[in-house]
Each structure stands twice: as structure tokens, then as C-alpha cells.
Symmetry: C2
Subunit: 216 residues, 2 copies
């Protein structure tokens, strides 16, 4: 049966269907509870064909993580146009991020939750994507600091810390937005922009928050 | 041998020694690679005694998560005094949080990394702690918004989103600070305060960030 079907449909297309089904099942059931039977059924193929193409549950899950990580990174990059003011780039990037995670809740569950809760190998795949996004945000903040003139030499370490804070806040908000009925991607992006930009913006203008007077 | 030792030392004390050793080994080696032999050796007890007291590697790990989660939550609560202005409470709370995670890097690794990468039961333990901290921060922001008068009715959902963003940023920064030589707890707290407070502060004064003019 599988042989007949694979003749009619290119392997690459069928693999994507298997990954679509796997992301849905992994995202909704969790990695442990997900069954290869259910994934094959949802993909409309036989279970042996899934094993033939993707080898094992572990390899199938790894393929899901890589595809979803690539799609998310690509969506954020595609949302941002270089040359615009930094706050506009950040706003566009955040909107792209929250729109993508809202449209792909199972993919986001795989990346943010499942991949990080089922062993170090899977977690390392997500870490690589995260480092790419942190580097992108770091660059954005560094450019914004230069634009603001006031503090062109915002210490590299401070910029790195701000990027880590921003990415952590975005991850946390995306999980919350997906779990909270009625919160739109645009609202989540605006909340984070409110939280982050007024703060970052003041910092770059040389108006940092200052500790209470008299504190040692 | 174990029997002689337990006579000399109360069970509660010996259990804490086992947990101290287990947190160190789990934090440094990772859950999978950690061996009960190594934990028993570091605790200065026999392996059978560890199993007698803590039952299994899973139960020992769960006991570590609960103890470390309780200690972190307690440290943050103890650092904050009610009645002070909201930004002071947040600054004190952040300093307590980053000081605790810096002083207990293995405990933080158990909570932030290990507990979340090795199965849903362990992850659920951390989720419970996280919800308690988010509730605490949500309350802090709600009080601050009332203090600022300008926007006493900052929507509940916006406050909840801001609290999620702040906690996600703090988690991310703590992991970064512990992995980056030379970053002190106070610097990490100041970076997040800069990032968060100037933003939150403006928001509460009724000066939110506004989307670019002309955007749909």
C-alpha cells in the first residue's frame, strides 16, 4: 500500500505531511504520550512508512524541532526590514514572532515545552535556535543604542543582558498568550513593546532607572 | 555502617546532607548522567541509605526540586518589605532573586534546566513554583498601578501579561548571568530594573509606547 502511494507522491511532500501530523500530536499529547500509530494515522500513511522515512520516534521528534525552529526564525527575520528605526524593527519583529507562535501553537509547544522537557539532545536543538534569535536581538539593540547617540558605548555586556531579558520575556509571553483565550498576537506584542521599549528607549537616551537614594 | 551513623545524626539532618549532595551532582552533571553512587559518596553515606531515605532517583530529584523551589520563593519573599514604594519592592525582590540564583547555581540549574528537560512530572513541580512567583509579581504591578493613580484600572489581563514578561526575563537573565563570568547579582538585577521599570513606570504614568503612525 505504502509503495503504491509513494509512487504517486514525492517523498519530500509525504515527509512534510508526516511532520505536520507529528508536530500536531507531539504538541497536543506531549512527547511521551504521543504514539507513532496516531501520527501515521493522522498523516494518512502506514506506520512502517513513517519509520522508513524518519527512522525512529526520537529522529522524528528531532526533525519536528528543526523544522519548527527554522520556520520561527525565518518568520521573525522576514518580518523585520533593515534600515527602519530600531523601535520599528523591534515592533515588527515582535509582531512576527507572536503571530507565528499564535498560528502554530503546536509548533511552539514542541519548541518551548516538549523539546526542553525530554532530554538534553532535544534541548540542545532549541538552544541553537535561541542563540540565533538572541544574537539578532543583540544586534538590534546595539544599532538602536548607536542611533540614540547618547550612549554609543552602551557596554557590550549590558546589551547582551538586555537581549537575554527580552527573549526570555517573549518566550514567557508567547506561552501565556497561547494559553489565555482572547489574547491576540498584536496585544501580546504591544504588551512586550510597552514593557521593553519605553525601558530600553529611556536607557538609550541616558535616563536609566536609578537605585533608591541612600542605598549602599 | 549506615545504622551506626543514623544513631549519631538525626534523620532530618542526614536527609539534608543527601539533598545537598544530590543538588550539586544533578546541577553539574545533569539528571541523566548523575549517579546515585556519586551522590552517596559526596553525602558521605552508603547508597542503600540514600534509597532507604529517598526511595529512588526520581523521588530524590523531586525532593531536590521541591526544596530548591521553596528556598528560592522564600528568598524572594524575604527580600521584599510590604509598604515600600513599588519600584523599591521590585528592586529588592530582583536583587534577592539574582543573589539567590547566583549563590545556588546548582539549585538554579536543577529548577530552570534539569527539572524542565526530563519529563512532565518534574516540569509540573517547577510550574507550581513559577505560578506562585508570577502571582506575587502580578500583585506588585497591580499595587504599583494603583499607586501611580494615572491608570488605576490597568486591565487585569495587561497586568498578567506584564508579570509573565518580567518573570520570563528574570529566568532568562539568571541563566545568562550564571553562565557569564564577572556578572554580579546586583548587575543582573540593575539590567532588568533598567529594562523593566522605566518601561513599566512610563506605562503606569500613562506614557505607553505607541505604534508607528499610519500603521493599520
Amino acid at each position: 500500500m505504502g509503495a503504491v502511494k509513494t509512487k504517486r507522491m514525492p517523498r519530500a511532500v509525504r515527509e512534510q505531511q508526516m511532520l505536520d501530523a507529528a508536530v500536531r500530536i507531539f504538541g497536543q499529547r506531549g512527547y511521551m504520550a504521543a504514539s507513532m500509530d496516531e501520527i501515521a494515522e493522522l498523516a494518512g500513511v502506514s506506520k512502517p512508512l513513517v519509520y522508513l522515512y524518519l527512522n525512529s520516534k526520537e529522529d522524528l521528534f528531532t526533525a519536528c524541532i528543526r523544522r519548527e525552529a527554522g520556520a520561527l526564525t525565518e518568520a521573525v527575520r522576514a518580518g523585520v526590514r533593515a534600515g527602519l528605526p530600531a523601535d520599528r524593527q523591534l515592533w515588527d519583529g515582535l509582531q512576527a514572532f507572536f503571530a507565528h507562535t499564535a498560528e502554530h501553537p503546536d509548533g511552539w509547544s514542541v519548541l518551548h515545552l516538549q523539546a526542553r522537557t525530554h532530554g538534553e539532545n532535544f534541548a540542545a536543538e532549541v538552544t541553537a535556535m535561541r542563540e540565533e534569535i538572541v544574537a539578532f536581538v543583540t544586534q538590534l539593540i546595539a544599532v538602536a543604542a548607536r542611533e540614540a547617540h547618547r550612549d554609543p558605548d552602551l557596554p557590550e555586556r549590558e546589551v547582551a543582558g538586555l537581549a537575554e531579558a527580552l527573549v526570555g520575556a517573549a518566550e514567557s509571553l508567547a506561552a501565556w498568550a497561547n494559553a489565555t483565550p482572547g489574547v491576540t498576537a498584536r496585544q501580546a506584542a504591544a504588551t512586550l513593546m510597552n514593557f521593553a521599549w519605553a525601558g530600553l528607549g529611556n536607557l538609550m537616551k541616558g535616563s536609566p532607572w536609578t537605585p533608591p537614594a541612600g542605598e549602599v
